[in-house]
């Protein structure tokens, strides 16, 4: 999980661990990229507005490594404009969730992404639509 907002990191790490997942956390983009390359996680939860490089850049760089091309990336962001969402999905995000979101909804998405066959994962630039923004609605 790459997130620079301490409170969100704390809460999400807690619920994810309580749900049985092992969570590595990073607070900057570069730190996150190193962790991804080193730990090869099953899923990345990524904020877009990070203190060094943007989440978009993290996404693009990770996707350049063929061995990481199929890794699900769930973008968690306050950027809710349609063009921003389109860009996020285009540079390699698997899902695009806008803040605020409900923890229960996030857990459901994480579970689904980890269970889904890898062929469902969107490849960069494929034009496949992700879920609607702010999918935390109900």
């Amino acid at each position: 999980m790459i997130e620079d907002e301490e409170n969100i990191l704390l809460s999400l790490q807690f619920v994810l661990e309580r749900a049985g997942y092992q969570v590595h956390s990073a607070r900057t983009g570069q730190e996150g990229l190193c962790a991804i390359r080193r730990d090869r996680p099953d899923l990345v939860i990524l904020d877009l507005m990070l203190p060094d490089i943007s989440g978009y850049e993290v996404c693009q760089q990770a996707r350049r490594d063929p061995s990481l091309a199929a890794m699900p990336i769930l973008v968690l962001t306050a950027r809710a404009q349609e063009a921003e969402r389109e860009k996020g999905l285009d540079v390699g995000a698997t899902e695009y969730v806008t803040k605020p979101f409900r923890v229960s909804d996030l857990l459901a998405r994480v579970s689904r992404l980890l269970d889904s066959p890898r062929s469902d994962v969107r490849s960069p630039g494929s034009g496949v639509r992700g879920l609607e923004p702010g999918g935390s609605g109900s």
């Binding site: 063009a83 389109e86 605020p100």
Partner: protein, 749 residues
Amino acid sequence: MTLPSARGQARDSRPFAPLEGKPAASGTYQRTLRLTLVAVAALPLAVATVATFVMLRQARLDLEQVAAISLMVSLGILGAAVSLAFGAARALGGPIQDLCEGVSMIIGPNRAHRLALPEEADLADLARGVNELAERADTTAEDLERRLSSATHELVVQRQMLTSVLFALADGVVVCNRDLNLVLSNAAARRMLSLPSRPLRRGESIFSYLNPAMLRPLVESLGAATGGSQQGQRLERGTLALPGGATVQVNATLAVNDQGQAHYVFVLRDVTQQVSVDRLRGQFLDASVRRLRSQATSLLSAAEILRAYDDLAEPQRRSFLDVLQRDAERLADELDAIHAQAVGTLAPSRTGDDVRVSQLAEWAAAELGPALAARGQRISTGGEPLIVRGDRLALLQVTRRLLELAVARAPQRANLSLRWRRVSASLLELAIELPRLEVEQDGLAEEQLFDIPLEDGQPGRSVRDVVREHHGELWVRGGPKGCALVLSLPASQATTPPDPGRDGDAVGQQVLALLSRGGFYEPGPRAEDRSERLAALAAHPEARLADLSYVVFDLETTGLEPGCDEVVSIGAVRVRGGRVIPEDHLHSLVNPGRRIPRLSTKIHGITDELVAGQPALDDVLPRFIEFVGRSVLVAHLAAFDLAFLNSRLGTMGRPAIRQAAVLDTLLLSCSLFPSWGGYNVEEIAARFGLAVVDRHTALGDALTTAEILIRLLEVLQRRGIETLGPALELQSGDLIRKLVGAVRAELSW
């Protein structure tokens, strides 16, 4: 008597109509002369009579004989004197009468007439003097005429410029005199104020259409504040709610001209939507803030209670936790609602132009032509008709900068493409595709590629800033076959820009008519030679007719023979998005370097004097080619106009414009409507119900032809011809050749 014309001008063949009193004066002169001569002859007569009488008396003749002989001698001498007087008077008086008649001619019907010099030296001097005076009077009169004509021309040009400005303004303009009677209004003002579509009569009171209570306070405070001394510097502003529900903001000022006449100038801006959105936004924000305050209060209280009281019973603890959960959820919902409203109905109105994405792409591609050529790269463009609303110039610059980036970072001799498409109902993307993006290994993140200034050497607004201002995004899309620089922008639902209101607008027609005599187009200097592009235009037969821009042009010439005759005027106007862009025009008189035959002047009204100080075709042609740019050329009977242009392009060493690449409204009309009897501009215009403005002026004819083109493009689309290639093909074929033959015969060309 035949009088030679002093300056070789043709003699006035009209019968001479003598001015009243002139011949009478001449007759009096002759009578006086005759009487004087008779009087002078009477003296020697008396002396001779007395002398005869004395001599005869000395000869001792009787008195009766002497008297009889003296009387006979006297009568003989008197007869001789009278004959002499009449003869002399005739000899002296004839040339003087001629002189009198000549002077009457000069001050009468024929200013160019000059006096013939009589043989008598004194009279010849007089005639010379009169001729010189006439010459000087002539020069003065011509000078006066020239100055008058120059001043009138300046006045006309200034009036045209003013009218063009008023026409182009989205703001309404109303000018009234001090009694608030209308002097001038533009189309925008009439739309806003729901004034009749006909031009208001000069002097009609604005209050016939507007409640006086609305404008009066503004006018009175303006009058009171300026007191007539600070006119033009004081601006009064007010907002009027009009009866139809619209709201306009009015800026009023008082202008006083050189003659001390005062006029109120009202500039009106339609702020209906802005006012309504502002009101809704205010109401929505108030309500949201109230709800957020109450939710925050509830959250804070619950959290504090949970922390402060360790001894809460389990049911109580749970109920406060429920409060936390519920209010946090309501907070999240509230944020979603605010976001939806912020990007939806309450979004800040994006002012700006409706810009065709194809225009952004094609302009950028044209600008980068030399850079592409230098690197041996090629570019193709294409996409569906799409509109983005925003700052046209900034978006053009952004597209150019991105393409520049692609050109610089793509490999040499690479094939680039510029494609645009609609991604969703409200989003479009413009992608510059290239085989590989060469990024220096300097740790530069791809994201930072776009932090380039909008203009070279002008730090401040960057490409990314402009994109953000337009709620768009920029990124590099990587893919197996290459990569793309992607620009994503909110898309307008429309696919063509809205018509700003040329709904049979009479002022618009007037402006178009006025423009046809204007010629204010001054393109910036550009060294690049675009004539090759002109020649290569037909290389894009797949281009959609609806997406293309057209330049419709017309020439006026000294005659009908391209080899011998020359161009005296060129007019061109651009058509884009199914409408004429009146402000986008070129109009220039051309000095043909030879005399213009009177017969031609009769047709187009262009005289030798008018073209005397004008540029030659060699100077105008590069401007024309520059103006055409990548637009498709269109003309009526294009072969005629092309023959003139190509003959000169040839001598300038430039490639000719291929007729096969030029749309011809005559050929298209023939092909689409073979049953029509005639195909000249008036006939086709009449068929389409179009008004013909300023026939036989280059710009007037170009404008009429442009309107014809728009109708023909509609017909083509209805008949399923949507691209340039098939439209050009329609122009060839036997049927067309026959028809052109018929038309040429009709035109005697």
